[in-house]
């Protein structure tokens, strides 16, 4: 039973961490352009090749 004293705070802490990460990501505008993020990976870094 004493394991609970550790496990529950850990579970809650991890959950809070995830929640905080999500809030941070929303604030930073990570979800503003989801389709764009998918497309940008295809852009070549070197400009002058074409």
């Amino acid at each position: 039973m004493s394991g609970l004293a550790f496990l529950i705070p850990i579970a809650l802490g991890l959950g809070m961490l995830g929640l905080a990460a999500f809030f941070w990501a929303m604030k930073r505008g990570q979800f503003e352009d989801l389709d764009g993020a998918a497309q940008r990976i295809l852009i070549d870094d070197e400009e002058d090749e074409r």
Binding site: F23, M26, F31, D33, L34, Q39
Partner: protein, 707 residues
Amino acid sequence: MNAPLALDTQGSMPLRDSRFTVPGMRCAGCISKIERGLAKLEGVDAARVNFSAKRVAVRHHARLGEDDLVEAIAAIGFEAQSVADNPMARDDRESAALMRALAVAGFGMMNIMLLSVSVWSGAEGVTRDLFHWLSAMIALPVVAYAGRPFFASAAMALRHRRTNMDVPISIGVLLATGLSLYETIAGTGHAYFDSAVMLLFFLLAGRALDATMRNRTRAGIGALLSRMGRSAMVLDESGAHRTVAAEDLERGMLMIVAAGEALAADGVIEEGETTLDNAMLTGESAPQAARVGDTVYAGAINLGNAVRVRVTEAASDTALAGIARLMDEAGQSRSHYVRIADRASRLYAPAVHSLALLAFAGWMIAGAGWYQSLVIAIAVLIITCPCAMGLAVPAAQVVASGALAKNGLLVKDGSALERLAEIDTALFDKTGTLTVGEPVPALGHLTDRQAAIALALARTSRHPLSKSITRALEGRGVQPVDLSSVQETGGNGVSAVFGGIAVALTRPDTDGFRIATGLRIGDEVTNIAFDDPVRHDAQATLDELAAAGIESAVVSGDRAGPVSAVAGDLGLEWKAELHPDAKLAHIEKLKSAGHHPLMVGDGINDGPALAAAHASIAPGSASDVSQQAADAVFLGRSLRPVVLAVRVARRTMRIVRQNFTFAIVYNVFAVPLALAGLVTPLIAAVAMSLSSLVVVGNSLRLARAAQ
């Protein structure tokens, strides 16, 4: 990789942010082309594309105007339109708030579930109490935070002595939380924090989804109505000029409107004489003359000379802003969401409340004890929450409007989809509806030399006729000649010198009925006539309509000759030289014969017919009257959105009927079980959430219906 390209050459010049919609973006290549192309432009600090919203945000030096940027984007190969300062900011905030509430509810739900599962699987005594206390500590802040959207809406409804969908939800959640808290303090062994939080989570998921769809639909309307001038040159009494932003203009100010500028406010011309492009308000592509004493409206583009205009209405009082507001109100799917949901819950919510009350009273009389009676009442309240019923129509309509908006058709009203689905006859106006409504020059008779000179002249001017000549000639690969001493005199065209000969694009030498311009080289004048071609996919669209069992016909106010030519080409029946009231009478006749006519038209003369028809669609180039009267507006040069609208509307109604059937079947089974006390609040919350999700999921199938 897409790092902003900094330019220090301008040093301390103030920077400005402008936004543009670029509907033509389709791929990664477009993103990099636009961002890099703009970044190379002198005076541009950074450009960032938002692909999902099809928008570009540009940070640039103040001396670079929005028009220059639009032209720069056009040179890269995309059509762009500037948008007012993030009109969607408010909606974005709302949906961001919903997302945050959803995240909090999700966090709470998972952790409480974890604890609940241990309790169900047999935790006893102190452990169980500890878990209940933990659940309470998680649930109370979570309910307080995540429940706000519902509590606020319910409180608003109650203040107005009405009831809506959020009232039973709020009561259910608060009762379940309050009862569980009491249980936890008393230590009697039952808690329903999991039910309350799970209910909130699933409801928020539905709301967040709805908000996202709504924002996408509204983005299109914003783009359509963003053509008003952003600022104006104002002359004060001392004779000094200064630039004033459109929203700071006041009645009585004197604006100087240069050639090529869009008017930023309504007013009366005090000095000067010019021609205006009023297409935004009237849908007429031909320029209109305006002289001293004439009233001019914001959004009109000055094609001729600089004029002085005394402001009569500014900022949000302009005719254009009024239209924008009306369209916005009509286009807000939120309004029909709430309307339909409220109509349903006006009857349904009181029934639910009394049913829950009856359940409580009934079980009390049956001697079940107040605690058990209350639990059953909560289960009834939650399980009968009219969400599935309330979502049946709006979910389908919102998804369908979103799918159509992506294809260039903006549906202004949810009920429009219902009516569009019932269409069996379609009537088309000719000019601007079957045809593009924009002048396209006939250039076949020009020699290569003439074409090269015409292009060189037209390139220097912003007049719409010049622009269309430029587009057409550049499309044919004509190389412009080099001109010297180019001059543009408002109302008189462009003149220049080429190899010692005076050349000009000016008024035609005949004063015919059609729109034309004259190309003068030396003393010789060649006329360039402008045609209004039929939309390229008109035939395909009409064939598809016919295949869907819809008869089409042309009703036009134009003369019989041109109308029969267009109608003959497309194989349609036609009626010409119809006055607005004759069009109206034609529609009434069809309606009294039991038909459901669809009217597609753009002119002011179509207004009454658009309003009277069973359903109506107007092109984006239409006059304000038509756009307001119409149920839907389509953008671009394609006519296909019309047939898409009908097809998607029919699919939508099929889905709506499925949703209703499902919601009714669900209630028929669930309510008796809940009344009989066979359902705990947790199962009720799961069942209710599932029923809502089934309805939303079924509606989501429409997202691909428009392809």
